[in-house]
């Protein structure tokens, strides 16, 4: 069993490009997660992610700055093509990555069997939220850390940590999955592409905007109209679970409002709950965003462990959220 508050929580930051990786390392990330430029990672978007050469250079740069690099190979391997995912694990090991973040039993098995020295983290896409499930991954593959799905409240995370020996990592800032990660096929139902099948959610090539007779902008995904914006209002991206729908005669954000996650005010509670690492979402973000958010979190985490005031750093983060509206999500039980 771990002792809570043994040390400062680790800050795990996203990098979709080599420039973002350098920005995160410069801004004080303890660890940086990134993916290879193919379907082996859950942010498989054009213009994002790393070639093997870029990954090797990125790892070397991060290590010089005292940061670790975690490679997300967190999609589910396609039937008959598991080799591509196994090669991604081999590449991460060759590039001297500090850990691989995986969800698929096949990928975990390959890493555990062929790269026993490579640290394994269980991706949020595996949706392991009970001590029994987490122990299964720890006992079967030697997983050292689990990224928790956003279904647990802070007290539930505390009680979970008392029952497991592996480290826990939680999302604290950025995009928010409303459905349990790794257990959602809404995107493929509308578009044919989903996180589990192809590493994308609500893909941009299936998005279109049209102006209706009243001048309102209608946002569609896969041909389904799921949001609407008044003239002059900033048009949001039609992510399926954050769209507007009608049920029981009422129209509104049925699943979740267009908010982003900010668990900043809960950092102290998460630390007391025995959480090892804090994860920032946003591999699709530019280096300015990464530098700003990582810098603010660095100050907050440091002031938390030094007994300082994290207030100014919290204020700075508000500016980085989509549309300015934020939620603590499932960490507060009333969200459910």
């Amino acid at each position: 069993m771990k002792s809570p508050e043994a040390k400062a929580m680790e800050l795990v930051c996203p990098a979709g490009t080599p420039a973002a990786l350098r920005a995160a390392a410069e801004a004080g990330a303890d660890a940086i997660y990134c993916g290879l430029a193919n379907e082996t990672n859950a942010r498989n978007f054009p213009g994002l992610n790393f070639s093997p050469e870029e990954l090797a250079e990125g790892v070397a740069f991060a290590h010089r700055k005292g940061s670790r690099v975690l490679v997300a190979i967190n999609t589910f391997a396609r039937a008959g093509d598991v080799g591509l995912w196994r090669e991604a694990v081999d590449t991460a090991a060759q590039c001297r990555a500090d850990a691989v973040i995986a969800a698929d039993l096949a990928v975990l098995d390959h890493a555990a069997s062929n790269h026993p020295e490579l640290r394994l983290h269980l991706s949020v896409q595996a949706a392991a939220n009970t001590p029994e499930a987490i122990r299964f991954y720890a006992d079967t593959f030697g997983v050292k850390r689990v990224v928790l799905p956003r279904v647990l409240s802070v007290p539930e995370i505390a009680s979970l940590n008392k029952e497991i020996d592996v480290e826990t990592e939680v999302f604290v800032f950025g995009g928010l999955c409303v459905m349990t990660e790794g257990r959602c096929s809404l995107s493929s139902y509308a578009t044919g592409k989903s996180p589990n099948l192809t590493g994308v959610c609500s893909p941009p090539e299936h998005v279109d905007y049209t102006e209706d007779a009243d001048g309102k902008l209608q946002a569609r995904l896969g041909g389904f109209t799921i949001d609407s914006f008044e003239q002059g209002q900033a048009a949001g991206y039609p992510t399926l679970c954050k769209g507007q729908f009608t049920a029981e005669g009422k129209t509104g954000y049925l699943f979740e409002d267009p908010v982003s996650l900010n668990a900043f005010e809960l950092l102290g509670d998460l630390s007391k709950a025995g959480v090892t690492a804090l994860k920032i979402e946003g591999r699709q973000r530019g280096k300015a965003y990464i530098a700003g958010v990582v810098g603010a979190f660095r100050k907050a985490v440091d002031s938390l462990s030094d007994g300082g005031d994290p207030g100014p750093a919290i204020g700075a983060l508000k500016a980085f959220s989509e549309g300015g509206r934020q939620t603590a999500g499932s960490y507060k039980k009333t969200w459910r």
Binding site: A79, A106, T130, E132, A133, M179, Y189, L197, F224
Partner: protein
């Protein structure tokens, strides 16, 4: 040509919050009249509903078993609290067929046989093999997995029986948030079990009033009703041995009979869709996940 065994029919677990009385009546009808080989039972969506139906399952199991059906107990897909985890731990030890829908249950099963349910993320042959090594003898693939992938996996892991989700609103997502409660201005902890008002799920429409999804507590389903109109010959060629029909409020005995006639070659795929559409489906027919396309669409499937 080798004599292929007949494609079997299974009845999946009921996803919806039906009352104990309704469930007893429903399964009595299945036991007495349905041409179904295997029946999956139990609450898989919401642990809060379990106390209302706990007491009825032993009698239903006995009734179905006496009627010659193979009974399989389906486990909860997203256990969250100690009570739910304890239930799964006990069920894992039962000396009867079970379906596992969350990996929490695998260690407790300790190598005894189980069915790997559609809520597990098994997308390739290596993951299925790993579960087969731990006791999986049957597998119902995730609903978004196309037939070509299922065929590849079946060829590489032939010892596992494959059962295709073939009828019903598609189970698309789970959440920790209850959408029935949210739509009724309630919280999950004080939900008043409002999900019992929608025996096929709560209809969800887009802004241009197009039916799209259906909510069932913490679960989101499709509005459209998936119908796998794949012929027996093609199912055998794909390596599929059984079709799973997911319970809805229409006459499931009739639905099973229609599928049986389709599998026996008495109906074409068009006949199957037309007959089912006339039986009171909760939404239009869809099937395109099987062709690797968007799930709500309809595609021409291999005949």
């Amino acid at each position: 040509m080798p004599d292929n065994p007949k494609i079997e029919l299974a009845l999946g677990p009921c996803f919806f919050n039906w009352s104990a009385e309704r469930l007893v009546d429903f399964y009595r009808g299945i036991a007495e009249e349905a041409d179904i080989d295997r029946v999956y039972l139990g609450e898989v969506v919401c642990g809060k509903r379990m106390p209302f139906t706990d007491a009825i399952w032993p009698d239903i199991m006995e009734m179905l078993t006496k009627a010659g059906k193979q009974v399989v107990l389906s486990g909860l897909a997203q256990p969250v609290n100690k009570r739910e985890r304890e239930i799964l731990r006990q069920q894992a030890g039962y000396d009867m067929p079970i379906e596992i829908n969350d990996l929490s249950m695998v260690p407790g099963r300790a190598g005894q046989e189980f069915t790997a349910g559609p809520f597990l993320n098994v997308y390739n042959e290596a993951s299925l093999r790993l579960l087969a090594d731990r006791g999986a003898t049957a597998w119902c693939p995730p609903v978004e997995l196309p037939l070509v992938s299922i065929q590849k996996i079946a060829a590489l892991v032939p010892e596992v029986d494959i059962e295709l989700f073939a009828f019903g609103r598609l189970p698309l997502a789970l959440s920790s948030r209850c959408y029935h409660a949210r739509a009724h201005g309630l919280r999950k902890d004080a939900c008043q079990f409002v999900c019992d008002r929608d025996p096929d799920g709560m209809n969800i429409a887009t802004l241009d009033d197009r039916r799209f999804l259906a909510a069932n507590g913490i679960q989101t389903l499709s509005d459209a009703v998936h119908v796998a109109g794949v012929t027996s010959g093609q199912l055998q060629a794909t390596g599929i041995r059984r079709l799973r029909l997911s319970p809805h409020s229409l006459d499931m005995v009739k639905v099973a009979g229609t599928f049986r006639r389709f599998l026996d070659g008495e109906l074409t795929c068009e006949d199957l869709n037309a007959e089912l559409a006339g039986q009171g489906l909760p939404g239009p027919v869809c099937n395109a996940y099987l062709a690797g396309d968007a799930g709500w669409k309809t595609a021409t499937l291999p005949a």
